[in-house]
Symmetry: C2
Subunit: 244 residues, 2 copies
């Protein structure tokens, strides 16, 4: 088996209202890359958020006392914390300067995905796309590709370092269930459900270093299970999570 | 940027004492794949364990009362549980049939990496290589490649599904520190330490489905930070872990 990942290097700066799909198609054409049903297109959340206008002017926010206290204690911008709390359904951890929250979509991540990297002015921050599965589905139909994965960069319990994970998918099963299949000795594989979309996100992440401005990666030669399921399946239910 | 992953499909069944490096070289040659300094070789733990004889005859184990009780309560093989406890320095979670332990290397994982998939007889199970970094270093010098990553398949807190992670590395920095670099607006990237080795493991994992018997993947076109650091850097220190 052979798999090939190519990052598009000519995606322009994305602004609110831009047709991201059209800009990806243009970049691909310019770089002689074919996008068809055999291709998975992986897109960094940042450009999806920018295109969808999921950018917030921090000067318009009024930090709550909680945001102000936490900002003072940990030398942070209270407006950013207010924005995090606005995206929060439940606080999972709030300790040692780290704020890990559950968002209305169920997604658990640090700072609710609020981020200022690759944003023009310190008075602005991006938030996650409102419905990343829908963003992925629209991009997929615009691009005519086999599947779309929208990724963000997350920290992890137990392990150091950040990895890219899937926050929105279209066209592929986020979880690939191998239960019932057998290994090379005919033994049933037990409990083998692979987080395929997260592995795809991590693979593409290798070609999306934060300082390089390459927010789109095309993957060819990767087999996947077709599906219209949501990336929400990747969020562990608190009732089965021994670490919640 | 363009990255290419190729799985070797002609690796034979590995037995204790086999020269894994030589078998990988033979398979690569047969498949017309060049292994040189530009290549990262990713190897599944299972074949490393087999070659190193890290296979245990369960019939020789005497399950402790703890192993027996847990096995009875959750319909498991008490001998397997005894083997898990033998690899355990500390129990992190033991709940609802799931046993997550800290191993002497600091690695935290379910069942201490004890596994029966792709093992010939139900009376045997593999354990993790004793020192995966050393295994990686020996393979790297045997193969003459740029870097080696040894992977295993782990579950995760907060997110569903398994992903492949790096348990041993040689020649590449397991964590890639982008702090101090700037984004496209000249803003310093804060706290951006990528788990590069885990992203490489996950990428290769896409070509190593458990039922396919493809335990070796060659990666070309992936840039990496050269380093002789240990994969242990990927294990989060309990003092910085809000989920321990």
């Amino acid at each position: 088996m052979r798999m090939e990942l190519t990052s598009l290097t000519t995606i322009p700066e994305i602004r609110p209202g831009d047709n991201l799909g059209a800009l990806i198609r243009q970049a691909a054409e310019q770089e002689n890359q074919v996008i068809d049903e055999a291709v998975i297109v992986v897109v960094a959340q940042k450009v999806v958020s920018k295109a969808e206008g999921a950018i917030v002017d921090l000067r318009k926010l009024h930090p709550s006392p909680l945001a102000q206290t936490w900002a003072r204690d940990w030398q942070k911008d209270p407006r950013l914390l207010e924005l995090v709390l606005m995206q929060t359904r439940r606080i999972v951890r709030m300790d040692r300067g780290v704020l890990i929250v559950e968002m209305p979509t169920g997604l658990v991540c640090a700072n609710a995905g609020v981020d200022q990297s690759n944003v023009e002015s310190p008075d602005f921050a991006t938030i996650l796309p409102k419905d990343p599965d829908t963003s992925a589905r629209l991009l997929r139909s615009n691009l005519g590709c086999g599947a779309v994965v929208i990724t963000d960069t997350f920290g992890r319990p137990l392990r150091e370092g950040l990895v890219d994970v899937a926050i929105g998918v279209s066209g592929l099963a986020p979880l690939e269930d191998l239960r019932g299949r057998t290994d090379r000795y005919g033994r049933k594989l037990i409990g083998t459900v692979m987080a395929a979309a997260d592995q795809i996100a991590a693979a593409a992440g290798l070609l999306m270093p934060k300082h390089a401005g390459c927010p789109v990666v095309l993957i060819r030669g990767c087999s996947w299970q077709k599906s219209e399921e949501s990336a929400r399946l990747l969020t562990r239910d608190p009732s089965t999570d021994l670490f919640r």
